[in-house]
């Protein structure tokens, strides 16, 4: 494929689409508004299509491991790959074939996916608790500033917290309103400036990471 199609065309398309979407926020014009909305619709569609790409990607990764009964990188990897593929095909077939509101899909979702997904989060709580017991140490002033508010917010987060220690309410609010808010706002401003710079570099064609490599 020529350089024009592989690199120049995506660059021009990126420039045109990005400028139109950016301009419509500053210039009120029906054509700009229509084009901007159309591009956003396309973008939503493309995002939805990536689910299909993910399906193929998982199939290409786990399929060979199952077929070759691979034990790489862990023992019985082929079994885990098979389970992954079974779950993926099961839900895809039920969802596309019968619909996500069908009783079969809901039954599998309720007895298979939901408990496993919830359990993986719930189990981590037990390990987090023992890890916290072993690792929360105050060895310096800095660690006191880190651990102190963490404990405060931990108790504040519990419904009974402000009843047991009424004083933590105003203290936690002070941390939220002044210390955490100012730190996070600074972080957001810095991240936003970085995003704007990266976007501008992409629009003018200086950022080419998304393009295929030059031959």
């Amino acid at each position: 494929m020529s350089v024009t199609f592989r690199r120049l065309l995506p660059l021009y398309l990126t420039f045109i689409v990005a400028v139109i979407i950016a301009l419509r926020s500053f210039v009120v014009h029906p054509t700009l508004a229509l084009l901007g909305t159309t591009f956003l619709k396309w973008s939503s569609l493309i995002r939805a299509i990536t689910v299909g790409l993910g399906f193929i990607s998982i199939l290409l990764f786990h399929g060979p491991k199952l077929v070759s009964r691979s034990n790489d990188p862990i023992p019985y990897q082929w079994f885990y790959s098979g389970t992954t593929l079974f779950g993926m095909f099961l839900f895809a077939l039920l969802g596309v074939g019968l619909g996500v509101r069908s009783s079969s899909y809901l039954w599998w979702y309720d007895v298979f996916y939901r408990p496993v997904a919830g359990l993986s989060t719930a189990v981590s709580g037990f390990f987090a608790l023992t890890a916290m017991y072993r690792s929360f140490r105050i060895r310096s002033l800095e660690s006191l500033f880190l651990v102190g508010p963490a404990l405060l917010i931990l108790l504040y987060d519990a419904p009974i917290g402000t009843i047991l220690l009424p004083g933590i309410g105003p203290l936690a609010d002070y941390i939220f309103l002044y210390i955490a808010a100012s730190a996070f706002r600074g972080f957001i401003v810095a991240a936003s400036l970085g995003t704007i710079l990266t976007s501008m570099r992409t629009i003018i064609g200086r950022e080419k990471g998304y393009l295929p490599e030059e031959a």
């Binding site: 916290m132 404990l151 917290g161 009843i163 309410g169």
Partner: protein, 286 residues
Amino acid sequence: MTSSSEENTIWDKLMSIPDNAIQVVFLLCMIVPLLVPMTIPYGVTPPTKAFYDTINALPEGSVVLYSMQLIPFNYGDCAAATASIFNLLLNAPNNLRVILVFPASDGPLMFDIMSADYEILMPEWRKYGEDWVRFGYYAGMEQGFATLCDDMKTIFPSDYFDNPFDDLPMMSDIKSAADWDLLIEVTSYTAIVDYEVRQAYGRYGVPCLFAPAGMTVMSIIPYYPHISKGFVMGLSGAAQLNSLQGISGTLVDLMGNSFSFMTLEAFILAILGIVSGYMLRHRRST
């Protein structure tokens, strides 16, 4: 090497509590309050009170977009808040018009599960299609939400029950974010908060209220109290919101009690760990 008498101080014993024992106590703290109903008072924090007041202060018939990122991973922390906020929206004295949307594909299914697990207090005079409408999942995260803000019908040509958009009486004068009076999001995913602020508040000036999971509360702090006048923090916030609504004896209370006990154990363990660690270090240095 320390002597055997030094190794048997209370601090040594505390530091050598087996992990299994800690986890068993944690399990009991979780289960016992669920099995044995207790009346434990809740303190209402200022952000929860502000959240409640903001909703009640909306003008009569205001339009509220209620977005719920309910997934199995955050269900334990977010489902109670989802139910409590939905009850508040349905029963608020200002006859709010509520639009339900879901930024995660699991959302619609998890909403049904949540409705079965928690009590939804739907007043008889509330009519579907006139007072509230349920749409489905919108794909595309920020791009999808940006399109939803511009033109709701593009994203949702029909509702969750396959009724065409144009057949829903409530939606006759609600076409885009310009027609929303408030956006409420229940989420454990920080990026959703950021893009909703960018798209709904930034472009259309729609005020927002957030109900983050406890672990992600810091993500909404930069927007509090200017963009989000208040917030409801996970299970704890849900219990407080129920208390403000005068709802008691529900699953939210049971889970709130369970959460209180679990947090208390974590808090006590953390303090014990810190003190024991300090005492052992102090002994070694002297």
